[in-house]
């Protein structure tokens, strides 16, 4: 009896000291990484942090294959006030949303005195996207923007310069497709499916006309510009520059079709470049990339992409998590990710880094595009705004509504949401 009792006590004591030492010595950080952004390479960056901070252990969690699915997952985790995630990667449209909902904690305290100087190190668009009312709500993970990819070989063959305006693009596309006489060759591919990319599709010409969608949290909808934007895309379909079922085309469909050699011009994000130059590509070394065209008389505009690191308000290790995020949002990690995962850097100087230039030469031409890219509207109700825009674009391209009707409905619905 006594022996048993002593043993139990001893064991309990040992267990307690053991768990106590674990609790003080080891912080376990759970990090949500989007599965489409090379979690394998991020893992290596996290390993570097673990090596420097032996008391921190980082676990990766991935979930959902698309930005929307990931948002849904995070929605349920956050609304449940679940502490199981400490750090999460967020599409650039979400930090403001998450801050408004009270789901993330600001970095100001960890950054210390000069918050502005700290944020000024990043490309201005990212400093802006992650700052809400003076609070730093997330730190940039990497940059992205939309580009115009074109078939260098075909343009050269027909003596055409990369287009500066959408009108020039239409003319060039018609000329090339007519001369090539290949029924499989499309002039232009862009995103017409009701996905997040279609929001950018709508905004590209709209922004190019110098218009804003939201200013100071209020809707500043320019209906005329909206009609023109929708009409521009619809005309591409009607005139045969884009294919008839463009309303079914998602981002990777554009990539695949261009990669198979069936597209002259394509609007796409930076990830496409690596695939176009890959071994399986039919257009390897025949691809050019430039900034997107402007509308006649307007400024060229691109859509700002990229992802950010936020720290959950329900995390039990907020400070430790923020220190970790400061590390993975540093120029060193940015350079590492640029070289190893072809993710565009969020720091201007990394673009001219020797090793980066060697690994991904085209990043040099990407920098001005990223610098001038515009951010999608910042609002806590972004999900609704996005849904309204993308379903309208999709409906107009499918011939379900005229551009005028589409713009009208879009305005009415946006007004309700941003009332």
């Amino acid at each position: 009896m006594t022996f048993n009792k002593t043993m139990t006590l001893l064991l309990a004591g040992a267990a307690m000291t053991l768990s106590a030492s674990v609790a003080t010595a080891q912080t376990n950080l759970r990090v949500f990484v989007s599965s489409q952004h090379r979690p394998d390479v991020w893992r290596k960056a996290f390993d570097m942090y673990e090596a420097k901070n032996p008391n921190v252990k980082v676990t990766i969690e991935t979930g959902g294959n698309t930005s929307e699915q990931q948002a849904q997952y995070l929605n349920t985790v956050m609304t449940a006030k679940d502490s199981s995630l400490d750090v999460m990667i967020l599409d650039v449209i979400r930090p403001a949303q998450y801050a408004a909902a009270g789901w993330t904690v600001p970095f100001n305290e960890v950054i210390g005195q000069d918050v502005k100087a700290y944020m000024d190190r990043y490309l201005p668009a990212y400093a802006e996207a992650n700052t809400v009312d003076g609070k730093v709500v997330a730190l940039p993970a990497f940059a992205d923007a939309m580009f115009l990819y074109y078939r260098k070989d075909l343009l050269e063959k027909h003596g055409i310069q990369p287009p500066q305006t959408w009108e020039e693009l239409a003319a060039a596309a018609k000329k090339i497709t007519a001369a090539e006489n290949d029924p499989n060759l499309q002039g232009l591919s862009f995103q017409g499916k009701a996905i997040e990319g279609a929001v950018c599709t709508f905004l590209l010409p709209y922004w190019s006309m110098g218009k804003q969608l939201v200013a100071d949290g209020k809707l500043s909808f320019d209906k005329e510009a909206a009609v023109k934007s929708l009409k521009l895309w619809k005309d591409f379909v009607d005139s045969g520059v884009a294919k008839k079922n463009i309303a079914e085309v998602a981002t990777d469909d554009t990539r695949k079709e261009f990669q198979a050699g069936n597209v002259v011009f394509a609007v796409n994000w930076s990830y496409a470049w690596g695939q176009f130059q890959g071994a399986e590509s039919a257009v390897k070394d025949k691809v050019g990339v430039v900034k997107l065209p402007a509308v006649q008389g307007g400024q060229p505009a691109s859509c700002l992409g990229g992802w950010e690191w936020g720290v959950s308000a329900f995390s039990n290790n907020k400070t430790e998590a923020q220190k970790f995020v400061q590390f993975i949002s540093s120029p060193d990690v940015s350079e590492f990710m640029a070289i190893n995962a072809s993710l565009l850097p969020q720091f201007p100087q990394v673009y001219s880094d020797v090793d980066v230039v060697k690994a991904v030469p085209w990043f040099a031409s990407a920098k001005p595009v990223v610098e001038t890219a515009k951010a999608r509207p910042v609002t806590p109700r972004y999900n609704e705004v996005s849904e309204i825009i993308r379903t309208t674009v999709n409906g107009v391209l499918a011939g379900q509504q005229t551009p005028e009707q589409g713009a009208e409905q879009m305005e009415g619905r946006l007004r309700r949401v941003l009332r």
């Binding site: 959902g64 698309t66 849904q72 349920t76 609304t79 990777d252 695949k256």
Partner: protein, 284 residues
């Protein structure tokens, strides 16, 4: 073979070749979609993009099946679906056996009212309760757990299972039960030792219906369990489509994997299922 004794077997269609043709139409209508997805799952990606399309796979491959299990945690989806379906079936049977016994055997005032209420629940649109259920599960910390699905699925099948069991229990002679009780059984003892075993076909039928209901459910599983590790099969497969791609051959393979368990269940218990469906649907 009660079929022969009935209505239309003497119709204009009684000629043998015509009958074979009609049987063929029925089988094609029922099986073709599943067969087509089986063919698709055996084709390579390049064969799939041939124009015009091929019908039978030229060079059948199981590569898509390997990818279906490795691209996404398909095994985990299967496991989640199985556990949720089996646990909710068990709970449904337990609860509905008790309720059906009370309704079939005990003197209850307002029995008709209770039965009507149960029928009303059987037609209840669970979709409308998405918000409150979401909030309840959130408040109880049950989002992203099996329990968040087991409880609603139990309610989903409870009415039909109760009705099936009531009609089976009513068909069991009371004398059997009484003699068990004379031998010293309690009422509950008699229920589980005599009534339930004698109604085994009914319990089985109810169980299969509850299982299929839970296996098929989509909306709640999609809404409450967004964590990929906790997805059920229908949700997991639907969300195979990636940020940029919709891999049809892999989805087809995953679909085949998802169809097989239910198909096996149906093949083995076809007559039970038919009788259950019709008694549950018609007796009301």
């Amino acid at each position: 073979m009660s079929h022969e004794t009935t209505a239309n077997n003497r119709s204009i269609f009684s000629g043998k070749p015509l009958r074979i043709l009609i049987g063929f139409i029925l089988v094609v209508n029922g099986m073709f979609p599943a067969l087509w997805i089986l063919f698709t799952s055996l084709k390579t990606e390049s064969e799939l993009t041939l124009k015009p399309i091929t019908w039978l796979p030229h060079a059948p491959t199981v590569a898509n099946y390997l990818r279906a299990f490795t691209d996404q945690p398909l095994l985990l989806f299967l496991f989640n679906s199985f556990m949720v379906a089996i646990l909710s079936t068990a709970l449904t049977l337990f609860v509905s056996v008790l309720a059906a016994y009370a309704l079939a055997r005990l003197q209850i005032r307002g029995r008709d009212l209770i039965l009507s209420a149960i029928i009303a629940v059987s037609t209840f649109p669970l979709v409308t309760l998405l918000v409150p259920l979401f909030e309840i599960m959130r408040a109880l910390g049950l989002l992203n757990t099996w329990v968040a699905l087991i409880l609603p699925y139990t309610v989903l099948s409870l009415p039909v299972c109760t009705l099936i069991l009531v009609s089976f229990f009513e068909g069991i002679p009371r004398d059997l039960e009484n003699s068990a009780m004379i031998d010293g059984c309690t009422r509950i003892g008699a229920l589980f030792k005599v009534v339930v075993p004698l109604s085994a076909p009914g319990v089985f039928t109810a169980g299969i219906l509850a299982f299929v209901n839970a296996w098929d459910e989509f909306l709640l599983a999609l809404s409450f369990n967004s964590n990929p590790m906790l997805r059920t099969l229908p949700v997991g497969i639907t969300l195979y489509q990636g940020e940029f791609a919709f891999p049809w051959p892999v989805i087809s393979a995953a679909l085949v994997v998802g169809i097989v368990p239910v198909a096996v269940l149906i093949v083995i218990f076809q007559e039970r299922v038919v009788s259950g469906l019709t008694s549950g649907g018609i007796k009301g």
